[in-house]
Symmetry: C2
């Protein structure tokens, strides 16, 4: 059986996701390259506008060490050839309990580079009855 060529948005999205979490875990300051002045990040309901505010938020998150495990990721092209990615996974920050999270990225090609113009992050906290 011949394996199908991965679709370009699948390839691009999964490549971005791998790169993002690698940088997030090893050298968060380098995430700056992924954002532009128009980027928006909503982090647990807190809205940050622009590379500078986003990086300030990310660099001041209250843990020293973090590990992510991705449970599922989905990618789609939008009608104007951007890429929309949704990640669901688990994270472990310092010695805290493992927590579920979900995160989305909206990726756009600008001057031959792919950047993240929109990102939303939430921990998966439910009050199950």
């Amino acid at each position: 059986m011949v394996e199908a060529e991965p679709l370009w948005w699948e390839q691009l999205g999964s490549c971005f996701v791998r790169h993002y979490y690698q940088l997030f875990e090893s050298d968060r300051a380098k995430l700056a390259d992924l954002y532009i002045p128009e980027s928006l990040l909503t982090w647990e309901g807190d809205i940050l506008h622009g590379k500078e505010s986003i990086m300030k938020k990310l660099l001041n998150l209250d843990f020293k060490k973090i590990e992510h495990t991705i449970t599922a990721q989905d990618h789609q092209p939008t009608p104007d050839n951007c890429v929309l990615s949704m990640v669901v996974g688990q994270l472990k920050a310092d010695n805290d309990h493992i927590m579920g999270f979900h995160q989305i990225f909206f990726l756009r090609e600008i001057n031959a580079s792919w950047v993240c113009t929109n990102e939303i992050f939430r921990l998966s906290l439910h009050n199950f009855a």
Copy 2:
């Protein structure tokens, strides 16, 4: 204290989300109005392209009755004035256990109507150690 005017994308996104789950629970066939021939839906990893395929999928989901409870929703405008919405919640289908889910919508204004060009749905299933 004067309450701030809700931002247009917050208003639009939360209005769409309310409308979507109301129709989903009461009359799923009416969801067809929210999609266009270019719409993409990824439902638990299954990719559907176009209003017709999407509606076939949604109308054939294997439950009679479903209820959604939204835990959190976030909305953002994209640089070209689309709206990106992320919902995390819980659902109860027929007599099954309550399950967490997350879902994203990418909304675009076309001919003075807002439609959903991209949607991704996943149940929040993790294998916690």
